[in-house]
Amino acid sequence: MHLERIEQIRRDFSRDIEEASTESALLEVKGKYVGKKRGVLQELMAALKALPPEERRAFGQSVNALKEEMEAGVEAALGRTRAARNAPPPVDVTLPGIRPELGTIHPISRVRREIEEIFLSMGYAVASGPEVEDAYHNFEALNTPADHPSRDIQDTFYLEGDLLLRTQTSPVQIRTMEARKPPIKIIAPGRVFRRDDDVSHSPMFFQVEGLVVDEGITMAHLKGTLAHFYAKLFQKDVVVRFRPSYFPFTEPSAETDLSCVLCDGAGCPVCKRTGWLEVGGCGMVDPAVFGFVGIDPERYTGFAFGLGIDRMAMLKYGIDHIRHFCDNDLRFLEQF
C-alpha cells in the first residue's frame, strides 16, 4: 500500500521535473518534494511512524532511496538549466576568424637565423664587424694590396679618407683574429656593398663568412662542414663539389658547387641546366693573412668560406629576383 504511494510520488516527481523549465520552477519542485517543511517526503516520514515496527525498516529504506533519487534528480536538472543559460550563442562558423595582428620576419632574417642556428649547433660563435670599413681590413690584411688586379674583382664604394663600404664580410675574419687567438670558429653574417647594379646584382646584399682556425684543420674539414651545413639548410641530401679558384686570402682556393637543390642535379632553369649551383668561395686561410694578424702558420691552419644569404633565400623560397629584398613591397613582405 505504502509502496504504491512511493511509486506514485516517484512518477509525480518525474513529471514535475520534466515540466519545470526554469531554475525557479526547479527550486519550487525541490521544495514540493524534498522541502524540510511541507515536502511530500515529510508526509511519508510522518506515515512511517504509524507503521508496525516490522514494516518500518523496509519502508524507511524505500523512502530514503526515493529521497536521494529526487535530490540527485533536482541537482542534475538544475545543472542542465545553468549550463543552458551560460551556453555560448550560436555562431556562423563559416565567418572568417578575427585575427590578432601578427607581423612578419624578412626572408633575409629568416634564412640568416637558420644559417646561424646550424652553425651555433656546430659550436660556432656569431661575430660582427663594421659595415663602414677601412681599406686595411677590407683589402690589405686580406692579402689584397693596393694596385693589385685582385682589387678589381670587387667594385667598391668609397667614402672619405681610406674608408669604404665593406665589399665582403671577410674583414670580420681579420678583426676576430686580431682580437683573439685560436681556437676560432666563427660565422659573420652581414650587409656587404658592391658598386654594381644590373639585373642580377644589387649594390647591397647579404653574406655569411665562416672562419675556423685551430691546430690540424684541413681542407677535408672545410668540405665536410659545408656538406653538413647545406644538407641541414635545404633539408636534403646534397653533393658538394670543389672547383679550384682564386681568392687573395685563401690558398688553395675553391668555388663551392652544390648539387642543384631544385632539380637534384637533373638540370633546370635555375641551375642553367648544369645540375650545379655555384654557392660561394672557400679555401684554406692564406699564410699571408696569418702573417697580418700574427698567427703562426706552422702551428695553426684554418679554413674560410663565404656564401650569399640572398641566394639561399631565393633558393629556399623560390624568389625570382634579388631586387625584392630591399624593395619592401608589402605584398612581398607579407608572404613570410
Partner: protein, 679 residues
C-alpha cells in the same frame, strides 16, 4: 677571355667531346663559362682568375690541357732566318728606369711591305674578339693571343735617331696614343721614347705618330717586361684597359719576350717580306734567377686532409713545368718555371698539386672542438629578441639600403652633414643614412602609391652618424613606423594606430626586456611640433618617438595619411637589459577602489599619477588609468578621469577599515593641487 678550341688543338691533341674538354678545364681552375660558334668553330669563353696570366693565351691553355689529358705539347714555330745586318748597327736601346722596366728586348726588320693579313690569321683574331688592322699589327696581336706576351711594333723611320729610350715622362710632355687621344704625362708615367719624345705609353698603348701604317718599311719590334704596379696606375689614370695592360698588370713571363719576338719576326717576314736583323737588343740589368720553393709532402697531406702519393705529387709538378729532384725525405726543393709568376710559397705548390689531382677525392670530415666564445654577441641576441617581439606585436620587418637620398636624409637625419660616397651609383643612393625612419617612410610612400592604406613596419639595422669630432660612427638601431590613411573598415581590422599605440608598443617592448624607462616631452626633427617624446632611462637617452612631421613625410613622397615613428638606439638598450626577477605571490586578496574625477583637461595624467604614487598609502600596489573622457556630459575645458587603485598586503587580508581613508587622502591631494573634484 675567348679562345677557339681548334687553335688550342693545334698545340695539344684534344678529344672530340667538347663537353669533356670544358669540364677538364673548369675542374682544374680555368673555368669555361660560355661557348659560342664563330667562323665555323667552337670558341670557349674562359674565366681566368687574376693569378693565372699564364693561362690567358692559347699556348698556356694547351699546356694545362696537356697536363690534364696526358698528351704531348707542341710549341709554336719560332725559327726565324736572320738575313739582315746585326741589330746593333740599326738601333740602340737605353733603359733609364730599370725599376719599372726590368727587361727590354727588340728586334728589327727592314724593307718590308705592310698589307692585309691572311684569312686564317684574321679568323683567329675575330674569334678572339680582336679587329684585324694590318699585317704587322695583326701579327703582334696574334702572338699575344697565342703566347701571351704583349708586343709592340714601331715604324723605325719615325723614331728620332732610330733608337729607343725607356724612361719616366717629363712634366709637360704629351703623347697622342693610337686611339687618337692626346694625353698629358708626368714623372709617374713610364714611357717608351725615341731620342726626343715619348712614342708609347709603356705596356698600355703605342703612340699614333710612330705606329705601323701601309707606308712602313722598317720596323722595331718590342718585347718587354714592365712593373705591374706602374702599368696598372697608368692604365687606371688614363682609363685605358688594353689587352697589353691587362697582362702586364697581372705579371708576364720574364723569359716571354724571347720566344714571342722570334715567333712574331718569323710571321712578319713570312707575310710581309723584309730582312730580319741579326740578333736582338736585350737590355736586362738584373735578370732574376729561377725561384726555388720548398714543398713538404707531410705538410701537403696535413693541409688537405687527404692522402696523395709522393710520386703523384712530383709527377704533377713536373708535368706543370716545375723542376724537382726525387727526395727520400719527401721534402722537395721545387724550381718554379718563369711563366708561373703566381707561385712563390709552399701553399701555392699544394694548390697546384690538388687542382690537378682533383678535389673530388677530398674526404668530408667535421672538425671537432667548439669556439670558446660561442653563441651570439649580446647586442645581436637583443636584436633577435626584439625581432620576435615586434613581429608578434603586428609589425613587419623591412630592410633598406644603407645608402640614401640626401634630401630624405636632410628631412629625417640627425642634422650633421652625412657621410657621402665618393663614387655613388646614383644621387638617390649617395649618402649614408643616420636615421632608419627616412628610407622606411620612402618605402611607405611607394606602398601607398600601390594602394596600401595602413602599415606597421620595423627595421633593425645600422645607422652611420658622424660624431661631434666629425669622425665616422656606426651604431645599431631599431625603428618602428605605424601608418594609416583612412583605411577602409575590414572584417576584424583593428582601429588605425595613433601615437599612443606606438608608445604602447615601445612600453611593452621595454617592459619585456626588463628595461625601466620614462617618457618625456621633447622636440626635434622629424617629429611634428608638440608630439615628440624622448624615451629615457635616467640620464640615458634610449631614443625618441612621435607623430612624424607632414613636411618630412612629404620629402619621403608621402602626401596623405598619418605616420608615427619611433627610433631606439640598441647600443643604449643593450646594457640595460635585465632578467625577470620573481616577486613572491601574496596569499591575500587585493582590494580595488575606483575613482572618477573632473579636472582641467590641460592637467596631464602623468601629473595626477605622480601625485597618487606619492601618497603615503600603505599597501598601494598600483594606480591604473581606466578611462579618460571629454565631451558630452563634461563641462567645457574639463575632462573626466577614471582610475583604479589596487591595495594588497603581504601578510593579511585588507579590511574595509583599512581602505576607508583612501578617498579622503586621494581627494586631499588631487583637489588642492589640480582643482579636481570627485564626480
Amino acid at each position: 677571355m675567348k679562345f677557339p678550341i681548334g687553335w688550342i688543338a693545334q698545340h695539344v691533341e684534344l678529344p672530340a667531346d667538347e663537353e669533356a674538354v670544358a669540364r677538364a678545364f673548369t675542374l682544374s681552375g680555368s673555368e669555361v663559362e660560355g661557348r659560342e660558334h664563330v667562323e665555323g668553330e667552337t670558341v670557349f669563353d674562359f674565366n681566368i682568375t687574376v693569378n693565372r696570366p699564364d693561362c690567358m693565351n692559347v699556348y698556356g691553355l694547351a699546356r694545362e690541357a696537356s697536363v690534364l689529358l696526358g698528351k704531348p705539347l707542341r710549341p709554336p714555330d719560332t725559327d726565324c732566318a736572320e738575313a739582315g745586318p746585326p741589330v746593333a748597327d740599326l738601333t740602340g736601346v737605353t733603359v733609364e728606369a730599370p725599376d719599372l722596366c726590368p727587361r727590354y728586348r727588340a728586334r728589327v726588320i727592314t724593307g718590308l711591305r705592310v698589307g692585309q693579313s691572311p684569312a686564317w690569321m684574321q679568323k683567329r683574331l675575330i674569334q678572339c674578339g680582336i679587329r684585324p688592322i694590318n699585317s704587322v699589327v695583326d701579327v703582334t696581336n696574334y702572338v699575344l693571343l697565342e703566347m701571351g706576351h704583349p708586343l709592340h711594333a714601331f715604324d723605325m723611320a719615325k723614331l728620332a735617331e732610330r733608337r729607343i729610350v725607356v724612361r719616366r715622362a717629363r712634366a709637360g710632355e704629351t703623347i697622342v696614343t693610337l686611339d687618337g687621344v692626346q694625353r698629358k704625362l708626368d714623372a709617374e708615367r713610364l714611357v717608351i721614347a725615341d731620342a726626343v719624345r715619348p712614342v708609347a705609353l709603356a705596356g698600355v698603348m703605342g703612340g699614333e705618330e710612330t705606329g705601323v701604317t701601309e707606308a712602313t718599311a722598317d720596323l722595331l719590334l718590342e718585347g718587354a717586361v714592365f712593373d705591374p704596379v706602374s702599368i696598372r696606375r697608368t692604365s687606371r689614370a688614363f682609363g685605358m684597359h688594353t689587352d697589353a695592360s691587362h697582362r702586364f698588370e697581372r705579371g708576364v713571363d720574364p723569359e716571354g719576350p724571347v720566344a714571342a719576338l722570334d715567333r712574331a719576326a718569323r710571321l712578319i717576314v713570312e707575310l710581309c717580306g723584309g730582312r730580319l736583323a741579326k740578333g736582338a737588343v736585350d737590355v736586362r740589368p738584373a735578370p732574376a734567377g729561377p725561384r726555388a720553393v720548398t714543398l713538404r709532402h707531410a705538410r701537403l697531406e696535413a693541409l688537405l686532409g687527404m692522402r696523395v702519393r709522393p710520386e703523384r705529387c712530383s709527377s704533377i709538378l713536373r708535368s706543370l713545368g716545375f723542376g724537382l729532384e726525387e727526395s727520400a725525405t719527401r721534402v722537395w726543393a721545387v724550381t718554379v718555371p718563369s711563366f708561373r709568376v703566381d707561385v712563390s710559397r709552399e701553399a701555392d705548390l699544394i694548390e697546384e698539386v690538388v687542382r690537378i689531382h682533383g678535389l673530388e677525392d677530398l674526404p668530408s670530415e667535421l672538425p671537432s672542438g667548439v669556439d670558446p666564445v660561442g653563441g651570439r654577441p649580446p647586442e645581436q641576441a637583443l636584436e633577435e629578441r626584439l625581432r620576435d617581439l615586434l613581429w608578434a606585436s603586428g609589425c613587419s620587418e623591412t630592410i633598406h639600403m644603407s645608402m640614401t637620398d640626401p634630401a630624405l636624409e636632410a628631412a629625417f637625419g640627425a642634422g650633421r652633414e652625412p657621410a657621402r660616397l665618393s663614387n655613388p651609383l646614383t644621387p638617390a643612393f649617395s649618402v649614408l643614412r643616420t636615421s632608419l625612419l627616412g628610407p622606411m617612410a620612402a618605402s611607405l610612400a611607394r606602398n601607398r602609391a600601390r594602394g596600401a592604406r595602413r602599415a606597421s613596419l620595423f627595421e633593425l639595422g645600422r645607422v652611420y652618424p658622424r660624431g661631434d669630432d666629425g669622425a665616422q660612427r656606426e651604431s645599431s638601431g631599431l625603428a618602428i613606423l605605424l601608418y594609416a590613411d583612412a583605411p577602409p573598415a575590414r572584417w576584424g581590422s583593428p582601429r588605425p594606430p595613433g601615437l599612443l599605440e606606438l608608445k604602447g608598443k615601445v612600453e611593452a617592448l621595454l617592459e619585456r626586456l626588463g628595461i625601466r624607462a620614462s617618457f618625456e616631452s621633447s622636440e626635434g626633427r622629424p617629429f611634428a611640433a608638440g608630439s615628440c617624446v624622448a624615451v629615457q632611462a635616467g640620464p640615458v637617452r634610449l631614443g625618441r618617438l612621435g607623430a612624424l612631421d607632414p613636411q618630412a613625410l612629404e620629402a619621403a613622397g608621402l602626401k596623405s595619411g598619418a605616420a608615427y615613428g619611433a627610433e631606439l638606439d640598441l647600443g643604449a638598450l643593450s646594457p640595460l637589459e635585465s632578467q625577470p626577477k620573481f616577486a613572491a605571490l601574496s596569499r591575500f586578496p587585493s582590494v580595488v577602489r575606483d575613482f572618477s574625477v573632473m579636472v582641467d583637461k590641460r592637467v596631464p595624467w602623468g601629473d595626477l599619477l605622480g601625485a597618487l604614487k606619492s601618497l603615503p598609502l600603505a599597501d598601494l600596489r598600483s594606480a591604473d588609468l581606466v578611462d579618460c573622457y571629454e565631451g558630452r556630459g563634461v563641462s567645457e575645458g574639463q575632462r573626466s578621469v577614471t582610475f583604479s587603485l589596487t591595495f594588497q598586503a603581504a601578510d593579511r587580508t585588507l579590511t574595509e577599515a583599512d581602505v576607508a581613508p583612501v578617498a579622503d587622502a586621494v581627494m586631499g591631494v588631487l583637489g588642492p593641487r589640480f582643482g579636481a573634484t570627485l564626480r
